[in-house]
Symmetry: C2
Subunit: 336 residues, 2 copies
DNA sequence: CTGTTAGCGCGTTCAT
DNA sequence: ATGAACGCGCTAACAG
């Protein structure tokens, strides 16, 4: 019980205003219950003393913490900042504060962070969690939980349906006469990755084009760069990367080997977070991560106001944005 | 006092283990005070019931919240994510949680957020605050506070000293024989902006080159794009933008007008957060925002452990990274 | 309308 | 080594 910076308490205000503590409390939460006169007197005393209601004490008493935790694998991945920003704004408008957690793509750290948040959060948002279904279920049992980019029965989630976009991408490449394509994959435990891989395989099969898959360690620039060798070894003439960051790494790796894009190799990214800032401007599968952030908070707030364990779902569409990293392969007959 | 999801309390564990509440408390905070035997018994009962100490109740009792608030103007600005990430990791290693606040470049919102955090954080980190010195002083009086990119007497801060980098940039351009340069400025209340503006003016004056300044509304892509017209009207042949985002907007605005970089105009950014992903690869003034995030938390933790209102300072150096957006102007005599 | 009384869940003296 | 009692700052019943 170390003495910290003197926080003005409700009692001091009560004394100064000559009323009971409860009246001060009411002045701040239910002013309509008090006579305007006393409210004024209390408020005057309050901001003259510089009183601010103590969030923690209030939370302990009401059971409502007014906080939400948002946990992401990697803040530095450009997919997340817009999501975090949107979540922040949505939470803000409901007077909620946001705890941010960064797991470094690590499931254990995720668990650890969640533990640290329990007892001060009303709900949890897990974006692209790397945790097992079982662990997530366990957490959802103790706390309202909304997932982003992960589909688990019985748990609310916001899903970016990239299957449509991936199908468009594969079709686009097939139309350009690519006969063999490679998928540069993301984290194996990532739902988005599995979804993209499946859409990739399925569409390719339907169109009769050959496929290959190259794994990466993490969805980032370096992993993409390092994947280039294995990627080229597959003999594919075009590739779709798990995300834009990986694609950007691939782009660099190819340039380092003197392989020019799109002349010698066609590449498509995912998430469309780099916009047209890469060179060549990256063809990518667009999703709105900001919408996901906004929707997740909205869902969670809705769950908080009603029954805890609703199983709501919010889908977000995707589509292909063609820019300058795709073209016909050399082997193809120039069709016009 | 609505009944929420059954949180296992210390009393339930105490009953289950057949001991007093205080013993359970001790088992979690001062195990050495108890006999190993009872500790075991308590722990067994605890994690059999799924008990987790309530962060909030503990905070109220000890006065130590274990939380820190980090407030930034715009999460989506690529300067901040690395900073946030580093801050997060540093806080993590000290078992602190991080509240994230996004002010949308708005001073009032900043005030409002700080208010919402009081009573649940032990300290505050304000990154590139848009608040007045007076308001910041007021806050610092009630709470340990560390600033990033803002220099106020008596308040601890982490400063990215871009004056060296800016001087290098101006010198670099002058050596290329540019005779008139323009500074595309950032938010007027931004300390970094003032610092960069001053270094720009001072160095230019010393080198005898003409200068001009063009204001922008916000440090983002759109503002940069819109500033191009005014920028060109100055007749300058080279420009230094407040940050990379603005520079990127300028780059696009120039391209839209058919003005090629660096052939027709030379451009330098600040922060070096876009790396070589722009085209042409942007020459920029490098700073390590991640170091700032890490240092700010370290400073704050240090302040928490000692006297509250220390006035510490941490400087971070910058330097020019030359890439492909600078060249001699047409008017210059080709020197070799 | 307003004051009085009980807790919220936990840490911490003070006894034992 | 352990238990009983009090308080952190605030909200919420219950009176009046």
């Amino acid at each position: 019980m170390s003495k910290h910076i003197k926080g003005v308490t409700i009692s001091q205000v009560a004394d100064a205003a000559g009323v009971a503590r409860s009246s001060v409390s009411r002045a701040f939460t239910r002013p309509e219950m008090l006579s305007p006169e006393t409210v004024n007197r209390i408020m005057a005393a309050a901001d003259q003393l510089g009183y601010r209601p103590n969030h923690t004490a209030r939370a302990l008493s009401t059971g409502r913490y007014g906080n939400i935790a948002l946990i992401v694998p990697d803040i530095a991945n450009p997919f997340f900042p817009p999501m975090i920003r949107a979540a922040q704004m949505q939470a803000d408008s409901a007077n909620f504060c946001i705890f941010l957690g960064n797991t470094e793509e690590n499931g254990e750290k995720e668990d650890q962070l969640i533990g640290r948040f329990t007892g001060q959060v009303e709900g949890l948002i897990l974006a692209s969690p790397r945790l097992s279904d079982e662990r997530i279920w366990a957490h959802a049992e103790k706390l309202p939980l909304v997932l982003i980019n992960r589909d688990i029965p019985g748990i609310s989630s916001v899903l970016i349906d990239s299957s449509v976009g991936v199908a468009e991408a594969v079709t686009h490449l097939a139309k350009l006469h690519h006969r063999k394509m490679v998928y540069i994959s993301g984290p194996p435990v990532s739902w988005s990755n599995r979804q993209r891989q499946e859409a990739f395989d399925k569409t390719a099969l339907a169109l009769g084009v050959e496929t290959a898959t190259v794994p990466t360690l993490r969805p980032d620039f370096e992993s993409g760069r390092k994947a280039v060798e294995a990627m080229l070894a597959t003999g594919a003439t075009a590739g779709i990367a798990f995300d834009d960051l990986t694609a950007q790494g691939v782009l660099t790796g190819l340039a380092e080997r003197g392989i020019s894009v799109p002349a010698d190799f066609s590449l498509i990214g995912c998430d469309d977070v780099l916009g047209s800032v890469t060179y060549p401007a990256l063809t990518s599968i667009s999703s709105q991560s900001s919408e996901a952030g906004q929707a997740a908070i909205a869902l969670l707030l809705e769950m908080l106001q009603t029954s805890k364990h609703a199983d709501l779902r919010h889908m977000i569409a995707t589509h292909l944005v063609v820019r300058n990293t795709t073209r016909e392969p050399h082997s193809a007959v120039t069709s016009g």
